[in-house]
């Protein structure tokens, strides 16, 4: 078991580990790189940056995405910013502080060495992005501007209005285009990976469905990189894009890649509340708003009642009757506590009956003070587009009345288990960005997802993959007519045939909604043993119902979005069950994972370091069989493990 989970963390002091590892890595000469093929699945920040960097190095890269263009990947929707330890503000920031904040924010469930490396390469990301022509916000002197995000006491977040993810992705996409033009990268848009192909236990290719023609296609390579993001859409309603899915990661799991910490899902505190049952997607309001916005609910129940009946407006409630509960409970960090803490605090107030809209599931995010302090112009510069977006959706102006917000599923910290080289338990299979179990432990800090995607893609995997490939250049390109490829394609075809054969009466979405209800109810913000056991049973039952009642219209060999959704939903059932199983195993509260049985008297999350200071890595054991749990102990050699405290 120990051999299966070798994290390959280099020896030596924390600050020298990455340098040491890089010096050990075998190089591949330029003429040999030309003989090596790499498949990258996904074109978000991780995938696009990795493909561009690998193309620059001279490898032959094939990159795949499900949308019509690589530029549409969901990284594009990230709003607030990207962290980097530049210390441009002279506020005593450093690589060590970024590392420390990330470990602490993750509630001591991430790997020290990986997080340190992330902080170490963060500064180079900003340099790279500026060189690409990304128009980051600037001070009047022409220098780069910064702002703050939750869980930290410095300003280290770089941003481009509320569209930072878009700008960073367009930068990576531009570099990708540069390599496509140079002929080192070939892009396959509207192609969905449906299986991973192993030859002699090594990753050697993928099976895809061409989403326009419906044909299944085989692609071979010397290595495969998965960069397909997270599995938040298991919950149906989330801030993820509609087509974001966990299928590529799940197929890798079924082919032997361990899946780590699946229960660690991030619930983002500032989303626009659910408005009715016709909704299919939740919209995030950037965490950057918490720099200047103040979160509150009324102190008095009668004010709550009158708000719900639309008898009064929020702005009419006097200052002394407002409960700024984050400032009250966490004076040191106030409105900028980490996401998990802010989400639970909102839930606590709403459960206590102080929710401010008709559904009782909303709190206020108020800018009145900021507008008074900074003036209209400066607030508009910082958040104008977010205010517009909010108004478009809700028909209410944040300039006049506070926003209403509520927590929603946003990001998954769990993912495919990887070692220090970002290689999975399957040789030749790498996972980067949100798709891996990553550097964020039990909770990710704001503005760190963009940082991790680009760190993995530009600076880490292009180096580490060389070590794996250094003795592969003499191997011929995998033959896609080999029996392993033929068999993998046959299995995918059988899956598709099975779905059409059901020919029931229920739509894919209606069943996915039911899965979402189970997940949110039992594997959501508060979890307990009975609920999690129930979730596992209900998911199994729902899956059976799916195979007897789903209706997939049309045929395979056409553009068929219902078939795409049905295939993804099959995988969401398995991911949902795995999440519940992992949550059941982890009998502690930590980060975004809150077990009702494990809390302090004040209702704060209570970790159990003695029993659970490990990464839970699950091994697939076959259809209908229980997965096997492997534990990677987390060792903290360089920092002291503490109870997170955002109070003082």
């Amino acid at each position: 078991m120990a051999e299966k989970l070798n994290s390959k963390i280099p020896e030596g002091p924390l600050s020298e580990k990455w340098t040491k590892r890089k010096s050990e890595i075998h190089l591949v000469s330029p003429n040999n790189k030309r003989k090596l093929d790499i498949i990258v699945v996904g074109t978000g920040l991780g995938g696009a940056s990795a493909a561009a960097a690998l193309g620059e190095l001279g490898y032959n890269v094939k990159i795949f995405c499900i949308s019509d263009s690589p530029r549409r990947a969901h990284s594009i929707a990230a709003q607030g910013g990207i962290n980097a330890a530049k210390n441009y503000q002279n506020d005593n920031d450093s690589v060590y502080r970024l590392f420390y904040d990330t470990i602490k924010g993750g509630d001591y469930r991430s790997r020290e060495a990986n997080v340190y490396r992330l902080a170490e390469v963060s500064a180079a990301i900003i340099d790279q992005c500026v060189a690409q022509g990304i128009p980051f916000a600037r001070e009047y002197g022409g220098y780069l501007a910064n702002r703050s995000f939750g869980g930290v006491q410095v300003s280290r977040t770089f941003y481009a209005r509320g569209q930072t993810g878009q700008q960073l992705l367009l930068g990576a996409y531009a570099s990708l285009n540069k390599e496509i033009a140079a002929g080192t990268v070939t892009a396959y848009p509207r192609h969905e990976m449906l299986d991973l192909v192993l030859v002699n236990g090594q990753a050697k290719g993928i099976i895809t469905r061409n989403l326009v023609t419906g044909q299944l296609e085989r692609f071979g390579a010397h290595a495969v990189i998965i960069a397909t993001g997270g599995y938040g859409n298991t919950y149906f309603l989330s801030t993820n894009a509609m087509n974001s899915n966990g299928s590529a990661a799940l197929q890798c799991y079924k082919k032997g890649a361990f899946f780590a910490n699946p229960c660690f899902a991030q619930i983002h505190p500032t989303c626009i509340p659910v408005h009715g049952d016709q909704q299919c997607k939740l919209t995030l309001m950037s965490e950057s708003l918490r720099n200047d916005g103040r979160i509150w609910v009324p102190k008095k129940k009668e004010d709550v009642e009158r708000l719900r009946k639309h008898e009064i407006k929020a702005s009419q409630i006097p200052e002394e009757d407002r409960d700024y509960y984050l400032e009250r409970r966490y004076p040191a960090f106030g409105n900028l506590v980490p996401r998990d803490v802010a989400s639970r605090a909102a839930k606590e107030r709403c459960d206590a009956g102080f929710g401010v809209n008709e559904t009782g599931k909303a709190v206020f995010l108020d800018f009145a003070d900021a507008i008074k302090r900074l003036g209209h112009k400066r607030v508009a510069e910082r958040y104008g587009n977010l205010f517009d977006m909010y108004e478009k959706i809700t028909a209410s102006s944040p300039w006049e009345e506070p926003m209403m917000i509520y927590p929603a599923i946003h990001y998954t910290m769990g993912g495919i288990w990887v070692d220090y080289d970002l290689q999975t338990t399957v040789p030749g299979l790498f996972a980067i960005g949100e798709a891996n179990f990553s550097d964020h432990g039990g909770n990710r800090l704001g503005a760190s997802a963009l940082m991790q995607g680009l760190a993995d893609g530009y600076f880490i995997v292009p180096v580490t993959i060389g070590d794996y490939l250094s003795n592969k250049f003499a191997e011929p390109r995998p033959d896609v007519n080999a029996p392993e490829f033929v068999e993998a394609e046959r299995a995918v075809q059988a899956r598709i045939d099975k779905l059409f054969a059901v020919n029931g009466t229920e739509t894919v979405d209606s069943i996915h909604k039911q899965l979402g209800h189970i997940m949110w109810e039992y594997v959501g913000m508060a979890r307990d043993e009975a609920g999690l056991k129930k979730a596992i049973e209900e998911i199994k039952a729902l899956k059976e119902k799916f195979y007897t009642s789903v209706k997939v219209p049309g045929s395979q060999f056409e553009f068929n979005q219902e078939l795409e959704k049905a295939l993804r939903l099959e995988d969401f059932f398995e991911i949902g069950e795995l999440m519940a199983r992992d949550a059941l195993n982890r009998e502690e509260s930590c980060g975004g994972h809150f077990r009702v049985e494990s809390q302090t008297e004040e209702g704060e999350a209570k970790r159990d370091d003695a029993k659970f200071m490990y990464v839970a890595a699950w091994e697939y054991k076959g259809e209908g069989k229980e997965p096997e749990l492997h534990k990677e102990p987390l060792k903290y050699e360089f920092i002291e493990v503490k109870t997170r405290n955002y109070k003082d």
């Binding site: 600037r138 569209q163 570099s175």
Partner: protein
């Protein structure tokens, strides 16, 4: 709210398309246009009909996937929004709403409301980038960019690549799309070394791919969901002419 949705149906790129009209009832006024289509699709599937295909993804107005021509306007009757950020409260109860795909020679229909926009990727591949090798950049603060220049560059960089400008233009021109990229990079010192080559290469590729000419009708500016102005087309023209003169 109740509506009649008159929608373009086309089986595939080769098939002949036609309109069909479907009634839909009980839509919340806070539902988005695409949520309304989701509900209509659920209804069609239950009736044993083929659901309507349409591109969509983020539903936050940023990915640029959604691309519907609604009642004769790209992204519908509201201003400065993509289709996914259009809400049913902008329509009259009982209205018949006409929904079509982008119509442009450079964007062939794949199915129903879904079009092929690979031509945009090809234009950007022709030069819409700065040739910087990963890892070779200097410290970010060594390049000073005045606040207003960065803001103006950002105005252009906000383009989501949806194609509304092309769909709206009577000539099917991609000038606003090309201008957004050329202008955004031309405003920054990092973008200057390749500015001439970029402008020429992207314009040449646009012409090659069958997009029409710009005749300054400014329709693109009115329909751009991100409010990108024709001032950027003027900058593209300057960059292009400058490049041509120096040849």
């Amino acid at each position: 709210m109740n509506f009649n949705i008159k929608v373009w149906r086309q089986k595939n790129a080769k098939a002949k398309g036609h309109f069909e009209t479907y009634p839909i009832a009980g839509i919340e006024e806070d539902a988005s246009f695409l949520e309304m289509l989701d509900i209509l699709n659920e209804q069609l599937i239950r009736e044993g009909k083929d659901p309507i295909s349409f591109d969509h993804d983020c539903r936050e107005g940023i990915c640029g996937a959604c691309s519907l021509y609604i009642d004769g306007r790209a992204h519908g009757p509201d201003n400065q929004v993509t289709t996914c950020q259009l809400f049913m409260r902008h329509f009259k109860d009982g209205a018949t709403i006409t929904v079509e795909p982008w119509r442009s020679a450079a964007f062939p229909v794949i199915k129903d409301l879904v079009v092929e926009r690979r031509a945009f990727d090809k234009i950007l591949q022709a030069g819409g980038f700065i040739s910087v090798r990963t890892g070779s950049a200097q410290d970010a603060n060594n390049i000073l960019i005045p606040h207003d220049k960065a803001e103006e560059s950002m105005d252009a960089a906000a383009c989501v690549g949806c194609g509304a400008c092309v769909a709206t233009c009577k000539n099917g021109s991609a000038m606003l799309f090309v201008a957004a990229r050329v202008s955004s990079l031309a405003l920054l010192p990092q973008g200057r070394p390749e500015a001439a080559r970029r402008a020429k290469a992207m314009v040449a590729k646009m012409d090659e791919l069958g997009f029409g000419n710009c005749t300054n009708t400014r329709a693109c500016e009115l329909e751009c969901p991100k409010g990108i102005t024709v001032a950027h087309i003027a900058r593209l023209n300057r960059e292009f002419l400058k490049a041509k003169f120096s040849d």
